[in-house]
Subunit: 311 residues, 4 copies
């Protein structure tokens, strides 16, 4: 574990999938291999137990295992972020303590959900979580999952009280993103969760990017990030376009048969299995798997993007 003051949240920090085996247990070797793949590609951090990591579908034991394996595999090379994603304050504290004890460098926390909170209650949530755990907290804005926005006003309040050390913005709303930068004077590192606006977000001031598709093509996102950061817009744009075409893997699944989450996360895992990074594309219940045709479609898009099996 890196010391708190050293948690640097810049660059490419993919939200890793959680490989499991046929029995549903965490596949430690696949997770280690995935992390090695990411570090080798130049990832600046890893984020376990995010939405892409199926955090909502893991129990406590599996979340602990994921964290321990990741902390071991990373071995201090880069920060290890872990999601403490749950409905209410006490539940989040319970998860946050669990992953902190397992070695996480920071915990990633959403607005409360299931309940309908007032903005003042969202801030209170972060206030109590921050007070209760020993690792820094990263705010996670993901309205598609939790139904509540971390508005620029809320984020500014969190920053002013120093309750969080960064924002992960998965809202897809660049106008809000820019308003956050404006309100926080750019002092709060902001990470975008967008696969499709990563170049733009970096050009506008994002400290880093957290793209789910970065599981599949970390080299591409590292190139994109370096180019966007260094002002080489042509290169950043070209990578972004290639990655946008690859991102079509998340829509190959037949939505009359399986859900949107299953289709997206199943595609990431299928792609990683096809590339030989993880052993099994299985997702956690209740998600249903891609079928053979859909996996072939993923394979075709990998090929089109120039992605081969990892040696």
């Amino acid at each position: 574990m890196v010391s708190d003051s050293e948690v640097s949240l810049r660059g490419v920090i993919p939200p890793l999938v959680t490989p499991i085996d046929a029995a549903g247990d965490i596949d430690r070797r696949s997770l280690e291999r995935l992390i090695a793949f990411q570090l080798d590609a130049g990832a600046d951090g890893v984020f376990l137990g995010g939405s892409t990591g199926e955090v909502a579908l893991l129990d406590s034991a599996r979340l602990r295992t994921v964290t321990e394996v990741a902390v071991g595999a990373v071995a201090g090379a880069v920060p290890v972020l872990v999601g403490a994603v749950d409905t209410g304050t006490r539940r989040v504290v319970e998860h946050a303590r669990l992953v902190a004890a397992a070695g996480a460098d920071a915990v990633v926390v959403t607005a409360p959900f299931y309940i309908e909170p007032h903005p003042a209650e969202v801030v209170e949530h972060f206030r109590q979580v921050a007070a209760a755990v020993d690792v820094p907290v990263i705010a996670y804005d993901i309205p598609s999952a939790v139904g509540t926005r971390l508005t620029p006003g809320i984020v500014a309040a969190l920053a002013a009280e120093k309750l969080v050390i960064a924002l992960k913005d998965s809202s897809g709303d660049l106008a809000h993103f820019r308003e956050v930068l404006r309100r926080t004077g750019g002092e709060l590192p902001t990470l975008t969760g967008s696969e499709l606006l990563a170049d733009t977000a970096v050009e506008l001031g994002a400290a880093g990017i957290v793209p789910g598709l970065g599981n599949v093509d970390p080299h591409g996102y590292v190139r994109l990030h370096r180019a966007a950061r260094d002002g080489d817009r042509a290169t950043a744009r070209a990578e972004q376009e290639r990655l946008a075409r690859l991102f079509r893997i998340v829509t190959v699944a037949d939505r009359t048969r399986i859900g949107v989450t299953a289709g997206a996360l199943g595609a990431f895992k299928a792609a990683l299995a096809l590339r030989g990074v993880i052993a099994d594309p299985a997702t956690n219940p209740p998600l249903l798997p891609l079928d053979a045709d859909e996996i072939r479609a993923v394979s075709a898009l990998l090929e089109e993007a120039g992605l081969r099996a990892v040696p």
Copy 2:
């Protein structure tokens, strides 16, 4: 614990609030007193760890304590239902086993949330939960909290596979409720979570009612239920009207200051504290409390409804 086959889900089964003390710990004496108050009024069951029980805001230890205290206080007199409310299958199984071990007679389970499930995945969720736990499962339709409907088609599938022993319908949608009855041939006991349509739901075939406001006035809902069940519509209607006026306590809070959940659950607890049933109206973080004016408004509505302190 009553044996599985004996779990009778009929009548008035209020979803109990979770009393806490100033330190945030479960207030066992208040919970015992609340349960005694309910049983004395004629409740046919109790439901702990529901939305009204702030299940989303309790950690595992508190949920276990609540269950243990309730099981002890009920002492087999009526069924004890407990919510295993969480985002995904493995998490729900973890909670369900915890509360089953603590003595719950049945667990109450919603559709998965945070993720976007396909109906087939919702059914798969209940299939795996039912297979993994030793107590019967009750399906809980609460789209306002989880964003997904348990459609009549889903409920019919759950009933056909005997994955659940009942439905708690908190959708507020009586057309769906009736379609469920139609599709299941009336063989699946259906409980309504509505405070305001309790009489109508019983007249239409609901096996029981699970009104949050039943915390505050169980005698009223018992009278309403008995009258509606026995075809005494005038009495049922009169009680329903009185209770509808009392239900205005959930809207006394200033919504520009606290959220809708805080306003409703805070009002139930304030009313119970005013009636002397529980010691402290405190809610769990991050919910903010009612202020003095709002508590006075609750008090006035109690008085208007003819409700006094419990001896």
Copy 3:
């Protein structure tokens, strides 16, 4: 046209479909035949230019023609209600004057849409419409179409200022419906738009019912209404159950091919064509038609419901 004070809004008032011919013109003969069919069945009023009447898809000329034909065909026997459904106050006034000039006895008006109105602006909308037109106004709560609720508070304000003579409630929310009755002291006639809760709504105090399915089986809804009104619950319930099964015609269409509106309105028209009441099941653009399989499914459900061609 009946005089204003005589506009009686009680009983069965189906929201009629708008028959068109292959060229897209109003099919006057079919509309006359439909109205005769309704009056013969015992309808207590007719509602043209509602959602079921494809009001959103008609231009001014067609709306005028529909009104004129209906007024002529009804010949004062029952009230003729016509929708003045549009986004803003001036547009609604324009439509309301048009249909009033064509002989409508009352106009039916929703909350403003396209814009996001405040409740005070919704009330102001009805205030200005009522002041600008010479026929009485009926408030139309249809949040699924306009995105804004006519809350019980809004309806109570409209009733207190006598801006409307009735409410058509197509919200599907019986708790709100009852709160409206409570707030208005039952003095504002309330009509339910529900096909599936018609019996219950009448038992709870609805003055009348406005079921789209009443196009297809007016005799059934008239029997249902009379029974519910007269306290014969068994008969009302039996009719409601039969009609609920018939209502499955609105879901026979393949939703991956045409929209929900096309599926529902297309089914009503297909059923009327199959029964020989109207000549052509065509809907207005941009709605796409049912295909042959879907029309066969409608036919099978008609048969199951015991409905034959009208002599």
Copy 4:
């Protein structure tokens, strides 16, 4: 009127407010003055009868007057776009013909609303509108108002059939915007309706910008557009930041008193009145006006942005 093939949709094309006088009639002099102000600032086109132009709140006569006055005032200098915004195909055709007859160079059309259309029905809508009117059609994606997206797939279909000559994207969703560019090969001119992402949209390939705030500060948006188009990012960014601060005028209104539409459109008109461009800040019913404090807040933000009365 410019000839069809000459309709150039590039640059700054503000969606103009519709000035009215105290009697609610179109204030021709103010509208002429507003247009002169825009042309003088360098606007490359004008868009009447958009959402900012309160199109949903105008009747046919006022929409015709607005179009005629604008066509006269512009006198062929730049294209005049006019909204034909309505629920269904026939209504849109009726409006489109009216404004085309009054001299509009192109009509701006949304997805159908009030109904729930299938994507194939959205395309059919544009197909029939395009066939029925003599001026080119611009597709208008504004899901916040109509509830339906013009997805990249729909837009690509519209472009492939040459049903529209451009897209106005008011979705705020830059990922979709980029996907549209990708799908159409950049051949369909795309205009962004965003006040806050105008610089980014131009850098990403937008042909033009249609910012409501451009009513108030056209000079600023012209500078922004020229800089962004010419690759001078520092200047574009600085203007965008200044304009973002000015855009706070749309949130000064007390949302517990008036709606979000009233607050935004009222602020634009108040600012124009304060700058002396239009005579009266009145909005159309049912929108309620800003109060004196709110107008003072608008005035302060104008001053902060360096905007003075127009000579």
